[in-house]
Point group: C2
Chain length 389, copies 2
Amino acid sequence: MFAHRIKNLAESPVREILKVIDRPGMISFAGGLPAAKCFPTFDYASLSSRHMQYGPSEGDDKLREQVAQSLCKRGLQVESNQVLILSGSQQGIDLVAKLFVEPGVKVAVEVPTYLAALQAFDLFGAEYRGYSIGEPGIIDSGPGDSKISGTRLTYTIPTFQNPTGHCYSSEQRKTLAAACDATGSILFEDDPYRDLVYSDCDRTPVCAYMQEVNWIYQGSFSKSYAPGLRLGYLACSKTLFPQLVRLKQAADLHSCRLSQQLISALLETHDDRNLIGFYQKRRDNFQEVLQDTFTHLADWKRPDGGLFFWLKLKPAFAMDTRLLLDQSIAQGVAFMPGEAFYPAGTTPQSTLRLNFSHSTPELVRSGLEVLAGIIETAAAGRVQQSNSV
Amino acid sequence: MFAHRIKNLAESPVREILKVIDRPGMISFAGGLPAAKCFPTFDYASLSSRHMQYGPSEGDDKLREQVAQSLCKRGLQVESNQVLILSGSQQGIDLVAKLFVEPGVKVAVEVPTYLAALQAFDLFGAEYRGYSIGEPGIIDSGPGDSKISGTRLTYTIPTFQNPTGHCYSSEQRKTLAAACDATGSILFEDDPYRDLVYSDCDRTPVCAYMQEVNWIYQGSFSKSYAPGLRLGYLACSKTLFPQLVRLKQAADLHSCRLSQQLISALLETHDDRNLIGFYQKRRDNFQEVLQDTFTHLADWKRPDGGLFFWLKLKPAFAMDTRLLLDQSIAQGVAFMPGEAFYPAGTTPQSTLRLNFSHSTPELVRSGLEVLAGIIETAAAGRVQQSNSV
């Protein structure tokens, strides 16, 4: 009865977790939730009846112009007519998947990578070529003979990667762009975390280094502004723009114009230094509490930006972290099992993604203590069980 | 380079027209634009930081409950856990197309029908079985041997249909539901105009008559509230709900929470009698001006609800109305050529869809005079041309 693609439509843990985060008393290390107290003050007085009416699929002109200017400043030379406003950057993944992905198409992805990108690509029948980031390089043996050879699309989150927090070096950025140019794989760069930077890093868009092959770059207003507005944007090679606009129109006509106007007004005045200072303190506190509670349980690297710590359990505590989720939520703590970030069919990874931006320092300590206790108990039970066999 | 589906992604006239309607001085009979002066006053004070945060893919609980109650009142018995909030009802078409449509799948549609539904179905490779509405009946020879036999999905706009304005009778509603039940075709009912009613009509959802086969019913907040908020909803058979939620999540995670809260607050207090009275007057005025300016050019039926007049040019003026659009826009008048509402490959239909809700009476008269003049000139030029041959 359903289209064949629906067999690829797996239940997503994100969905389950988004449902519980609103519950009173829940400590959420799960979603990439910004801290509610950092949401800016929106200028509702700037809204007029104009913003209540239907608008262009491309997005409102002024906002497109503002985005183009911002992209130029970060090193990606685009004109406003290459900018498409999105109903959140998840929509960009849906549109790009529709444009390129069908059964048999190979997509290169970092392993691990953003789980809802996998979900969107899965729906259209993607096959994956996974490449590991950072070690020893993005591509295994040079641009000409890389893991991305034979792929139609390369999906990357180079800056404060989700879930690992890794930020590509300048060298890695250039190498990835060169590999795409050499192999003809279209580069799809997802860059939602770039503004949440706590150390000096090269954050030049990888797309800025592309010479020949087409590319799509996308960003989000969810992280520095507010996710409830559901607003993001993409910019792309001029040849891809007409198709992406048509796909956008067929998907939802255009994005919420209230959200567009509120963000457009804020872009004139918004200063995110307070937000960044606030998140940096939260990251530092999280690191400190992790050292107190998880040093014996897991290894991790303090991220230079973004919203997440990525933990790998030590061999003595290795387990499928998905099996801990129900119990953890029952005890009032939500986290993201690392398995969700790997293409289907991979073995349990003993990894967890923990968001540090959403919870207060007090909640961080009690939440991490609960989580550490659950892992210790699960490991102890396993030892006991194997002893009693 | 593109997925095969992109070859079905035609340029849409809606997109072009949405781009120009904001232009100062443009008289738009094109989109289904509500009158800006009827937009309600939104209660921005009801917004809190809660509505800035990520939320559930299904939509906010309170709004889902309000929608369910409203559907029960109109005769469709659903629970709130069957309600999915959408980023406008265009998104519902995208999700339903993803769920059911792939190359070779037959979709029954009214001919003519909503053009952006055709666009969304086209993308996924639909083949159409068109049925004419109203005359002599929805289905040609009874439920067992109808045009919808062999289709997986039947798409219908039974109430103030887009573009024709037709409202199905009680008998037609029951017949369509029986035909879907008899043939196993899933009923997809699109009902955005139902609240804009100017005469007494049966508006019971066709889905309310379904006995066995699955169904999806969707509605919009764009017409009675404001399209710029981009908010709609669907309700469906319980067995379809989990897949539609997952598709929604992969498409945009969830819909704008500001829009959800603003609509939710309004639903408590909103009285649309003023709006309906206002539109009814605009319809009556439009009818009057049409009689003055188009009686010699076209035939039409005054609609009992909705936003559109549907005109068929008389034989002496028969022409492909798409060819008039550029000139008309250049003269400051946007309209919708009827050809856009027919599946691709059909011959020019000599039809126009004219929206009566958006323009003031003064603009209606000058706009219709311009349009009538363009048609007369085009027909005269043709006569002259054929005389000179």
